[in-house]
Amino acid sequence: MKRWLKISLLLMPGLGLILIFIGSVVYIAIAQSFGYFNLSGESGFSLEYWAKMFDRLSYSRAIGYSLYIGVASAFLAVIFAYPLAIWLRRPFAGSLFISAVLKAPLLVHGLVVAFLYINIISYNGIVNQLLQALGIWDGPHRLQNDSGAVGVLILQTWKNMPFALLLLSGAVQAIGDDLLDAAADLGAGPFDRFRRVIAPLAVSATQAALVIVFVGALADFSFQVIAGPINKQSLSQLMVFFKGYGRWHDAAVIAVTLMGLGIAGSGVLALFSRFVLRGGRLS
């Protein structure tokens, strides 16, 4: 048997299935956004759906908002995870317990947390009660669905930080003690050790964490619906909205937009983080 044929056959069950599923979904979404696969009328090539979408204010606003959530979540998750990863680099009494607790959010579904969160911050929830009891606030404040999307960012960070921590811990732990000792010996204090040794050596893990958190948060639906601002829509929300009215072509335009933003944004984030962590160089 030919070598390439053998390899192809062996890869078929796994990779083949994945490629068929992803490929067909992507294909249908793209085709649909250009007017094909019409479920309730005539199919045929058309730029109309894209053109009309570009004219909608809700579309450009949703793009801006989703990018904001995606980028902010990615950076917040990584910024919180980094010090923890470095702190937990070498085992100490209780470190195993701490890292287990920190990873607990991975096991709790986002929806559950979102409900818990809006309960806590609700008009008569414990946060309001506590701040009033402490005399910091005179009366209850409305915290739910805040217009700055702080709630969504808190939830995204809470949910994604452990994942970033997992990735960064692996990278940070792989850096030997002697390397950090050498840096200290050559005059690098804690921050310079991070800047000049840890960060450049953990670039790949940081990129992976940023990209994965970004793509997930970019397409956020559930946190947005439960805890997000009332006056803003994420791209996923907009997509579901169109789908709810049976407007499949418009929904497909947004799906393709999400995919495109995911890829482009990931590329930008990856390059940006590499540039920053390598101290201003890309090579």
Binding site: G176, A182, A184, D185, L186, G187, G189, D192, R278
Partner: protein, 350 residues
């Protein structure tokens, strides 16, 4: 003046004492070696001097200033690591300049120091390479160069040659010593290799179980070990239990041992009536002599190239003799003598 002064330093990890009340000094330009078996606390002691560890007790001074609680990045020491610890993401030039950038030296001075070290260590052609593109010997030189560019008061070496093959080790030894002399640096050098210690050091501190067992110049240590541990660790030694029978004259003592009565010449009197003594295998004299003659059958022999190891047995005690002579094949027993001055009094027997 003393560059480094270590005063009553102890280092405990939980219940375990890795370094136990150690004191020593290193003078300007002096090359001091910490020698001892693996696990005796050499690295721990070096880490206390460099600041990676804070001692449980005692004090470290560098250039007359107490640095016991000063972090490593603020100490004027530079370490040459056993693993080299080169930064894998930085080129050789960047590795060599790591500390200089940290010191915020002007670019011109950085370049001058870089070129100086690169030339001395023959690294000029390697400057743009990454560490993993270098041979072991070259990596070792980068590690050394990275420490030297800092022009520290004291360089610390933790078994820097243990990852090199034997031939390279000998040439790098000489190189390190030459550069250390060129820069007139104080150096503390850790090794478990006695040959390295003898060949390189101004002074050797022999460590055992976290304590300094004996210190002195290489010749002092080799010729006058004070304990059987030192005698055995540095060079080869035949160690015997001995009992003093009497003093013959001012410097001469008569002892009884398992291999018979021996006459010992020693400047220092024996430390106890029952004690250990030793003699070096290479000091055996061929043929019967006026004193300390021994005649014994040869049980094994091992050809070592420039000499032959002969093992003789007397009263069930094996002794080793190094013979610088060929044509020994037909000899089955050995007639030899030990000069009284070649026998050394060691520690008391417990």
């Amino acid at each position: 003046m003393n560059t480094v002064s270590v005063q009553n330093v102890s280092m405990r990890f939980g219940d375990f004492t890795a370094v136990d009340d150690v004191s020593f000094t290193v003078a300007d330009g002096e090359f001091v070696t910490l020698l001892g078996p693996s696990g005796c606390g050499k690295t721990t002691l070096l880490n206390v001097v460099s600041g990676f560890l804070q001692p449980s007790a005692g004090k470290i001074e560098i250039g007359g200033v107490d640095v016991t609680f000063v972090p490593p990045e603020k100490r004027d020491t530079a370490m040459c690591f056993q693993s080299y610890a080169l930064f894998p993401h930085l080129s050789v030039a960047e590795n060599l300049q790591f500390g200089l950038k940290q010191k915020r030296l002007p670019a011109a001075e950085r370049k001058q120091r870089l070129n100086d070290v690169a030339e001395k260590l023959d690294l000029v052609a390697q400057l743009e390479k990454l560490p993993n593109q270098l041979s072991g010997g070259q990596q070792q030189r980068v590690a050394l160069g990275r420490a030297l560019t800092m022009r520290p008061s004291v360089v610390l070496f933790d078994e820097p040659l243990s990852n090199l093959d034997a031939k390279l080790r000998e040439s790098v030894r000489l190189e390190i010593r030459k550069i250390q002399a060129d820069y007139n640096l104080a150096a503390i050098y850790v090794t478990h290799d006695q040959g390295e210690a003898l060949a390189m050091s101004d002074r050797i501190l022999i460590m055992r179980n976290g304590k300094i067992e004996q210190s002195g110049t290489p010749t002092e240590i080799y010729n006058f070990p004070q304990t059987s541990f030192v005698a055995d660790f540095i060079g080869d030694a035949n160690i015997l239990d001995a009992t003093i029978i009497g003093q013959e004259s001012e410097d001469f003592w008569r002892v009884s041992t398992e291999i018979g009565e021996l006459l010992v010449k020693s400047d220092t009197p024996p430390i106890a009536k029952r004690l250990k003594i030793c003699w070096r295998p290479e000091n055996a004299q061929f043929g019967a002599g006026e004193m300390n003659s021994i005649e014994a059958p040869i049980t094994h022999r091992a050809f070592q190239g420039n000499y032959t190891d002969l093992f003789i047995e007397m009263n069930g005690v094996a002794q080793r003799v190094q013979w610088r002579r060929s044509h020994l094949e037909d000899i089955t027993s050995l007639s030899m003598n030990i000069r009284p001055e070649d026998i050394i009094f060691l520690e008391a027997m417990t």
